[in-house]
Structure formats: structure tokens, C-alpha cells
Amino acid sequence: MKLRSRAAFAAMLTTGALVLTGCGASGGAATGDNTAGPTGGTLSIGSLVDVTSFDPAASHVGHYMQYYQPVYDTLIMREPNGDLTPMLATDWEYDETETELTLNLRDDVTFTDGEKFDAEAVKANIDHFKVANGPQASTAASIEAVRVVDEDTAVIELSQPDPAILLYMAASAGFMASPAALDTEGIIGTPVGSGPYILDTESTIAGATYTYAKNPDYWNPDLQKFDEIVIKPMQDVTARVNALVSGQVNAALLDAKTAPQGTGAGLNEITNPVDWQGLFLFDRGGVQAKPLGDVRVRQAINYAIDRQSLLDSLLLGNGEITSQVTGTSSAGYVKKLDERYDFDPKKAKSLLAAAGYPDGFDLTLPVNSADTIINAAIVQQLADVGINATQVVIPSTDYRNEIFTGKYSIGYYGIFQGDPWVAVNHHIGPNAAFNPLKYTDEKSAALIEKIQAGDDDAAKEFTEYITEEAWFAPFYRVNQLYFFDKTVTVENQLQQAVPSIYNYAPTK
């Protein structure tokens, strides 16, 4: 099923459910049936990041979502399982060319400063988002303009079909702030949105504690499961585990080394494979490193890596090995490809010999100064099949930008696994920053075109193609280890580093 139709179907279902349960009517009583379980109390979360600005145009996704979601509604809601359902937009529809997305909007929503939410507000927000050129501005790159049809109808005009645009409307580009607050100095520290909570600036200490109080006039009390939400930035994992184990926070992300402390303290755990890690074979065209132009050489690299032992020793087994860059939740996922390349140095050597490199060849491996251990292991395993990789250590702050310059033929990296079109634009397709040599070929280009049209079968075929052609040498999907205490329940959020704020509920 296409993303578009799937979303529309989900939208219809939820709209129906909302009508049936009387959601949207004022007062909490009407929605009581829909709110399974108790409400109230304070939710306290330890976050890996600190919010830097509450301007939606400066917002970011992943870990940052938790800071914005309490105060800003998005146009579309992304459910924990990835389904897209109504939020400020009640339903949406594409035109035939898939370049015009019509959004029908709620007409009963006001921002906390009293301004009304309407189509003009959508236009003002998206215009602001594009002009401000913030960290997620590229997600609105395909948006040419927003047209106001009437008060509760807006049309997003796209320069080309963009199957990811609905997803983006459920993230940074979809956060709606009061038009009166946009472009003001105040919005950096004081968000003005229509979300389920309001930032309590009195109790907030920048960099230490962000306190959100319930928005008394919120249109959907179902999303207000707590009286108060407190988010504490704790970049250091030691701080997070101490705060969690001592009961200062209810939930936080730990890592492989601190996870046993969380388990030992009797906390609950969610594992969520958001990223994959492995080798990018950037020069799959053999422009700089000629041997890499031969598919047998690229496959040999895949056979040379002992994925399981790397996973066990470096991540203490917190993940699952794979040979594909596509995640299990993506429409392009093909299960059997997880085992496409097993650890077989003999086969690697014979492939290298068949490709004309019986004695191996030389390579330069850029090494992120924060990842020296895994790179040492990579060098060793490549050496075992005859590939001599010379390490060039790059400070971790510059590593990504250095590999983007296209100087290197291969490189180790960890990256998220998004939906097919997002992944194509991010690290596979000819325009992706992680394809610095802009490699493409006829077959992949044709498949990418179909993926852009929302064809899920093409997405699967594409995964098979690039795995068989060994454009990458993926090692494993890494588990995010999210821990929480017994006073809350937490639902995992698909493809997101931490759960959305709506996924938490009190147990009593």
C-alpha cells in the first residue's frame, strides 16, 4: 500500500473514531472512554540533548522532539507504529500529479496567546520555516508555496512529488506556532503554540529543567496524560543512569555499558533499532579506488567482516546483524537480506582473486577519532583477506564533513534507517550527502523514480539491488536502550531515537 493511501486510510479511521467518541467536544468527560488508564502526576524525563531554541524553525527531530511536542501540535500525528493520523489537519488529499497536497484543518484550535489556528497560520509557519533556514529546513525543500483556500483549508504546493512530505508534517516542518509569535525574539525562550502543555517559564531553568504545565484549554485532553512534564537535559550517560536509578527521572536513554545498572534496578526496558552501522563504500564507481568499482571486491569486503563478533564485543550484543541498510519498519525491508553476507574470509579471498586482486590492494580509511576501536577491528578484518587499509584519523567534529567532501572511498558511519524515500535522499541516491561521489546507475535511477512515486515493491527491489551490488557493507542495526520506572508506561516510537511525548502514561 502506498504511503499516501495508507495515511489517508488511517486518517479516515481516526476521524471516524473521533466522531464516534465525541473527541473534540469541549470538556474531558466526553473523552473519558477514550483515555484508557489513569491520568495526572508528573512525568520526568532525562534527555540526551538540550533544547536550544523554541522557535519551530530551529527545531530538530529525534531526541529533540520531546521538547517541542508538549507545546506545539503538528499538522499530522505520527502514531507509535508509524501510522499517520489527524492532528491539526483532520484529513488530507493529493491531486493527480501528487504535487498539491490539500489539508483540511481543525476550526476549534486557538494558540495559547489567543490567536486562532487557521490556514493563514499554516502558511505563516511554513513560510517562516523555509526562510529561517534551520536544521530541518531541507525537509521543506520540495514545498514551493502554501496556498490559503479558505479559513480551514490550505494547499501545500510541491515542486515535485515528495512521498516523505506527510512524515515531515508530523515533525519539525509541521510544528505550528502562533503567527503573532513567529519572527519575534521571545519565541526563542517562550514557545507560543497550541500544544497539550505550556512551558512554565517560572519553573524552567535553561540547561537544567524544562517544566511544562497542562494547557487548560487544550482541544484534545486525551493527550494530556500528566499534569506536568519535566524534561532534564543530561548529555552524560552517567548522569542519566544516576538520575534514573535514584528516582529523579522516570525515563531516560541508556547505553550498552549502563544498561545492566538499569536492569539491576528493576527498570523496564524498550529496545528500538533506529540506526544501522557499517561501512559506506562511497566509491562504488571505482573513480578513486579502482578495485571498488568491481562488485566482487565490494562483496568481498562484506564477506570479510565478522559482524556477530563486532556486535558482541563492542555493543555487548545490543543489536542485530544485517547486510542491508533498510530497517525492519521500512516498506523496502527484505528479511532474507539480513543474512545475505555471512562471515566467510575464504570466499572474500576467492572473490578478490577472481576480480584480479589475489594479493589484495591498498585503501585509505578515514577514522572518526571517537570510533577508533571499531576502525581498528575493521582494519584487522580487511587485512585478514589481504586488503591493506591505512587509517587517517579525523577529529570527530570534522569527520562527517570530511567524508562529505568526497575525498575518501570508504568510511565507517552509523545512520538512521528511514522510510524508502527519506533513506534515498539521505544516504543512497545521487543527491544524498552520504553519496559524496554522486554515484548512480541506470537501474537504480529507474527504481528511485518509482520510489518517489510511492511504489513499495520498487523499494524492496531497490534494497535487493543495492545489497547484491554491495554499495555498502552494513554490520548491524543498533538497539536504542530506553529505560523507565514502574510508575509510567512507555510505548516505543518507530524510527525515532526516543518515544514521542504522547507515548507516556502514568500506571496509577
Binding site: D50, Q235, H426
Partner: protein
């Protein structure tokens, strides 16, 4: 004294200028990827070019530097490239936290070190050996290890103190004290260890001097000899080590602030450096240099007050 002060101030300003210039030039050479860092992995080349122009990254070094310097002289350090927060606001919000734990640790360490040092130097015997042993142990234990032991025992198990976080004094003085108790204790350990040794050896050294023997021979009670004369002469050495420790603490507190999730200058310094947020990094550098200059100035003044010879030199 006034000339002495003025000379110190002028030297301080020159130092500030030289260090900030060198830092700016060094940062200039690593500013290529900043626009990409801000805009993330999906950014198009056009967006990156736009951002570079917006931040002035397309300007040559002298233009950028003098623009920054012009602002800095008037107290305007610009805004963070990542969140538009004025650098001065960011620093002023975080400075009280860092200064609280650094100065708190320093004052407590100074008092404890003086007591232990005097006791060890005067009484000698088992007290001296115990202080020596404690100093050795304290010196060998990095503050972050002490921090983790303290958190595990007093916060997680005994649940007396909070494991992380900071409460402003104005919100609740009692909770404020609880929130800074463990971070300060973690820092104090090593400081006392080093300073007590200095106090001890300085006092032993001064007590052997001729003028002390003369004072004793004039029949002055030992208590007066020690507290009025010996301590005064031994103080400069100890003060110097304390001022050096203060400078070290500005760096050392970064780790402690991370472990206790304190909203001090430390996390700001780490984040801005890793991101390449040049205006913030420059703000942190200027703040650090000013602190160092101020502390040295204070130490010079106190030394001058304690010892008239210093004023003359």
C-alpha cells in the same frame, strides 16, 4: 600600589587580546563545516551557501575578526549560531552555577587544607603521617571517581542527596545546598590533598627560619609565633597553589558538571566546541581568561597585603 595594580590590569588586557586573537584565528581555520553542522545531513548546497552568507562565513578572516572584536569591546559577543541566544545571556545564565561550585570548593578546600597543613606541620608525629597519607590518596583519586562513589553511596543507596540537577538559591536555599553538596565535595577532595601538602611544607620551612627563632627567643608564646608570623609568611606559597587550582577547576568542573547534569559553563563549552559555535566558544574563552586574570590580580593583592616586600618588587 596603584601603579602596581594598573600595570597588572594593562598586562591582563593585553593577554586577553592576544589569547582571543589567537583563538579566533585558530577557529577560523576549522569553520568550513559549520553551516553543514547547523543544517544537517539533508541540506542542499544552496542552503549551505545561504547559511554561510548569513553567518558571514564567506567573509575573509580580517573582516570577521574585526567585526567580532568591535562587538566584543562594547560587550556584545554576538549570538549563538545554533540557537540565536545572545552569548552574554548564555554565559550569565550559567556562570552562577559554575562559580558557585568552583568558589565553594575552593573556599572549603582552603580552610580544610590550612587546618590540616598547620596541624601536620606543628604537631608532626602521627597527625603528620595521616595527613601525608590522606594527601597522597586524595591526589591519586580523580574528582570524577570521587563523584561517582559519592553519588552511588549517598544519592542512590542512602538517598540523602539528589543524584543530579541544580536548584537556584532563590528558589529554595535548603535544596540549593543539597544540590551543590556532592559536586563540591567531589572537587574538594583533590584540592585539599594538594593544598594541605603545600601548607604543611611552607609552614615547616618558615618555622626553621632565623626570624622565627628570634621571635621565640624574645619569649613570644608559640601560638602567637605560629598564627601571627609563621602563617603570614607561609601564606603566599599556599595562595599561589590555590590560584593555580582555581584555574584548573575551571577546566575540571566541566566533567563534574556533566556527571551531575549541572547547567554550568562546562556543558556549554563542550557543546559549542563540538558544534563549532564560534561566537559561544569565543565567549567562553574570554570569560575564562578574565577569570584567570582576576584571580591572579586578587592573589597578588592579598600577597601584597600579607607581605610588604611584594609591593616593593
Amino acid at each position: 600600589m596603584l601603579i602596581f595594580l594598573l600595570r597588572r590590569l594593562v598586562a591582563g588586557i593585553l593577554l586577553l587580546f592576544v589569547i582571543s586573537t589567537i583563538t579566533y584565528v585558530l577557529l577560523y581555520f576549522s569553520s568550513d563545516g559549520i553551516a553543514q553542522n547547523i543544517l544537517g545531513e539533508f541540506a542542499t548546497p544552496e542552503q549551505i551557501a545561504l547559511k554561510q552568507a548569513e553567518l558571514g562565513l564567506d567573509q575573509p578572516l580580517p573582516v570577521r575578526y574585526f567585526e567580532w572584536l568591535g562587538g566584543a569591546i562594547t560587550g556584545d559577543f554576538g549570538r549563538s549560531w545554533f540557537n540565536s541566544e545572545p552569548v552574554v545571556t548564555a554565559l550569565f545564565n550559567r556562570l552562577p552555577v559554575t562559580l558557585t561550585i568552583v568558589l565553594g570548593a575552593l573556599v572549603i578546600a582552603a580552610v580544610l587544607a590550612a587546618l590540616l597543613g598547620v596541624a601536620a606541620a606543628i604537631k608532626r608525629g602521627w597527625i603528620d603521617r595521616a595527613v601525608q597519607l590522606l594527601s597522597l590518596a586524595g591526589d591519586a583519586l580523580p574528582s570524577f571517581v570521587v563523584a561517582i562513589v559519592l553519588v552511588t553511596s549517598l544519592a542512590i543507596q542512602a538517598k540523602i542527596f539528589p543524584a543530579t540537577g541544580f536548584v537556584p538559591f532563590s528558589d529554595n536555599p535548603a535544596l540549593w545546598l543539597m544540590s551543590i553538596a556532592l559536586p563540591i565535595t567531589a572537587l574538594v577532595f583533590q584540592l585539599v590533598a594538594q593544598a594541605a601538602q603545600q601548607f604543611r611544607s611552607a609552614i615547616i620551612d618558615v618555622r626553621r627560619r632565623d626570624f622565627v627563632r628570634t621571635l621565640r627567643s624574645r619569649g613570644l608564646p608559640e601560638r602567637e609565633v605560629v598564627f601571627k608570623h609563621v602563617l603570614r609568611s607561609a601564606a603566599p606559597a599556599a595562595l599561589t597553589i590555590l590560584s593555580l587550582q582555581f584555574v584548573g577547576l575551571l577546566g575540571g568542573s566541566v566533567i563534574i558538571e556533566q556527571i551531575f547534569a549541572l547547567p554550568g559553563v562546562g556543558p556549554l563549552a563542550v557543546l559549542s566546541t563540538t558544534q563549532g559555535d564560534i561566537p559561544v566558544v569565543m565567549g567562553v574563552v574570554v570569560y575564562t581568561v578574565i577569570m584567570v586574570i582576576l584571580v591572579n590580580l586578587v592573589v597578588d593583592l592579598v600577597n601584597g597585603w600579607l607581605n610588604p616586600k611584594v609591593r616593593v618588587s
